[in-house]
Subunit: 518 residues, 2 copies
Amino acid sequence: MFRLLGANRATTTRAPAMLRRLLSSSVETMQQEDSTTRSKVLTLETMNPNVRTMEYAVRGAIPIRAEELGAQLKKQPGSLPFSKITPCNIGNPQQLNQKPLTFLRQVSALMEYTDLLSPEMIDGTRKLFPEDAIERAKRNLSYVNNAVGAYTQSLGIQEIRENVARFIANRDGYPADASQICLTTGASGAVERVLDILVSNPNVGVMIPIPQYPLYTATLAHLNAQAVPYYLQEESDWQLSIDDLKRALNEARTQGTDVRALVVINPGNPTGGCLLEDNIAEIVNFCEQEKLVILADEVYQTNIYTGTNPFVSFKKVVSKLGSSVELFSFHSISKGMIGECGRRGGYYEAVNIDEQIMGQLMKMASVSLCPNVQGQMAVDIMVNPPQPGDASYEQYQSEVGAIYESMKRRAKKLAAAFNSLPNMSCNDAQGAMYLFPRVELPQAFVDEAVSRGQQPDAAYCMQMLEATGISVVPGSGFGQVPGTFHFRSTFLPPEELFDEFIDGFRHFHEGLIKRYSS
Amino acid sequence: MFRLLGANRATTTRAPAMLRRLLSSSVETMQQEDSTTRSKVLTLETMNPNVRTMEYAVRGAIPIRAEELGAQLKKQPGSLPFSKITPCNIGNPQQLNQKPLTFLRQVSALMEYTDLLSPEMIDGTRKLFPEDAIERAKRNLSYVNNAVGAYTQSLGIQEIRENVARFIANRDGYPADASQICLTTGASGAVERVLDILVSNPNVGVMIPIPQYPLYTATLAHLNAQAVPYYLQEESDWQLSIDDLKRALNEARTQGTDVRALVVINPGNPTGGCLLEDNIAEIVNFCEQEKLVILADEVYQTNIYTGTNPFVSFKKVVSKLGSSVELFSFHSISKGMIGECGRRGGYYEAVNIDEQIMGQLMKMASVSLCPNVQGQMAVDIMVNPPQPGDASYEQYQSEVGAIYESMKRRAKKLAAAFNSLPNMSCNDAQGAMYLFPRVELPQAFVDEAVSRGQQPDAAYCMQMLEATGISVVPGSGFGQVPGTFHFRSTFLPPEELFDEFIDGFRHFHEGLIKRYSS
């Protein structure tokens, strides 16, 4: 198990004190180094201190304990008060039995075993695969001279980049250019690359929302840069307040930080909020005026659950306004209704980025050779699904529709359940895959946790896991207003198990509140 | 096209002057910044200078020009003195029509489209897939609860890590432990991660061979660390001289560099050399004594072509000697007879590494979530191929054997061709996928290149490309003894086209030598 460092290592973290407090997910102290390890070259003392400072709660102490408990259940069924682990710590839908989209997998299978397309085998293949999957596999194979086992161009397969550009143009009603699109190993790899090129020295600051997805603080810590937090407004469905952006920017610049970029996660992770177009326009104008590059994390763009807050891309608003603001927009095959997390595919679009920087980004891509080819191919299917008239059209639509409707129902149901409980309140999810409920922890519970050297919300989540098998992530892993406590839960458990999941949680929560309030 | 910087930017590169000269693959100067780009936030001036300094010649100016020429040939066939591009710049066998291993692809296809294993479809599936592929797909699917579309554990699928450990134990005759094995996105991602944790400040040095695979210099430049070069001995089949290691280490330490690690690439890239066991033992003892962590890049461990120089792993020698030296060993599915470059799979084994560092490496892995699942599954097949008695055993053996024998013939044939030419000499490949011939460029050619601000070997390779369509990488991209000139070529063109490939090269080379020697 790895040790989370940070809050107690003032000399090695660059985050300002407040941010450290906001983000600290552990108050564990570093163990005294064992004398037997002193002879090693590579130790906690000698290693890259920026790596040591990184924290990533989504796969932190609680999910690691969940794995241990899962292993125990496998070995000794019945040895715990629950029969299975329910991993709500990460947006990983296929882990929770979401069925993959059939067409995508048919095409992938045919590209893997291309002999299925040979004259000798094609008759047998036609009995198992629809004609449009066969045609699609042939077409996509032609992009790579039939070799999905070869490195592609570093920026990704040219034809797929063109298809992505067409998808964006259709989505937004404004042109997009394949030369500005780069296929990547999921959105995470893309975000890391863009932050990497942006950070030229330890004084560079990047504005991030609080709460945020901890990829951003982890990467900024790794790059030894300054995370400049701004707050999302819980009381107004996690909208972004321009006033708070201004406050945060001014404070950081007054302290001498060279603030260069702004991260927006829309739809929001962990919040589930979805920004309105006017709000986005304000942000774009603000960033243009203040000379900030925008990083728009838009991986949940098809996870939209209300009519009031449709998804609007930053690219669209930038185009509409004719803004010259520099923008990177990120998308992924891991989310939406596709949910192909394990495949590691995504892309970014660069808008108004200096041409020489585009060359540098290409060089960075080339050192890693290329994103995995099936991940690229899945991006192609995401942006270019079966069309009306295609053999697979109806099935594709119906699979996507069923996943979407079910997610929407589960989002609503879980938020309602949270809101029905004592000491809890929760905004509805307008988008994404998460709820971020607020918990009023009884003072006695908070005191007990602090006296044990634990974050109160982390203690709450760990007790939830030990009592119910449900694994969520404490709010301190994402950042929250000091003195408030939250956790992030996906609403991805299968619908048929949803009542059981909610009951288990309710039982734990009510018991805890009762116990500590008396 | 991106601009390669480095040699002329003394203020932004950390490599010592000699190394910069050794590695510089371009003397192009940075363009004066266009005044229109001055208003951008992110420019060559403001970006991360360590990224700007990186160079990666394997996908540098020459392959980029090759892509342009390839596009031209597609549009206007017959417009160039050759009919196709022959990409010998990168070890990418399936790009050059090497057929993938059937069993691996059958299993992958079944894991993609799992409906093929359903009771409704299994009869049709049995007509197209052998029984052991079906069984294998079921077994590997059971590792991930049937979900190849879900994130796995960050370190990789536990059962596959155990299979890798068994493979290593069988290979070496010494135990291996799954907890010390981490599955990765190819070997490149693994090398980057290990160097990243090793480099704690700009004074840290890592010894690298010259010539080297430029991933190492690129990553060290990116991390703002010191590359400490030692020379491989061209005159003795690129063996590693302990005396030169000592010289290089002493020089660097005398200059105050904190030298912490040694990179060995065995079998060698770009050299094709393969180290003898005694030599490895000397290196292990040297590193233990000098407190250097060993990074053993062993991705070509099955590409071995002579009886005299079998592959011996560093892990085996460390175990045999009972050494406590810290070792990371890297392996990949991209090379060997598998050649699944586009899939991005690999692993590293950590030996004698501090337990807390293992935790930190796990945290680093978790930020990227997990390596793509099909890449992990291919590692499993690599370390655990069909066994005698399995339906696919004969075919698997025969496919692997045919690729191996053909590579061996092509290696020999290409070296013989190089050695038959004026002004050229070349060591045979004992291993890997490359030859690194030395070219005695006529003084008139060298003078002309220098007067144009070009590296002579880069000019030679660019002229080769323009004349023949053959794309290779100049020696300056790997490093070479000053005043000598080399290039790296794979021997991967298909065997049936090999004579044509050699003839094209011979014609170009003889013409150039004649022209400039008169």
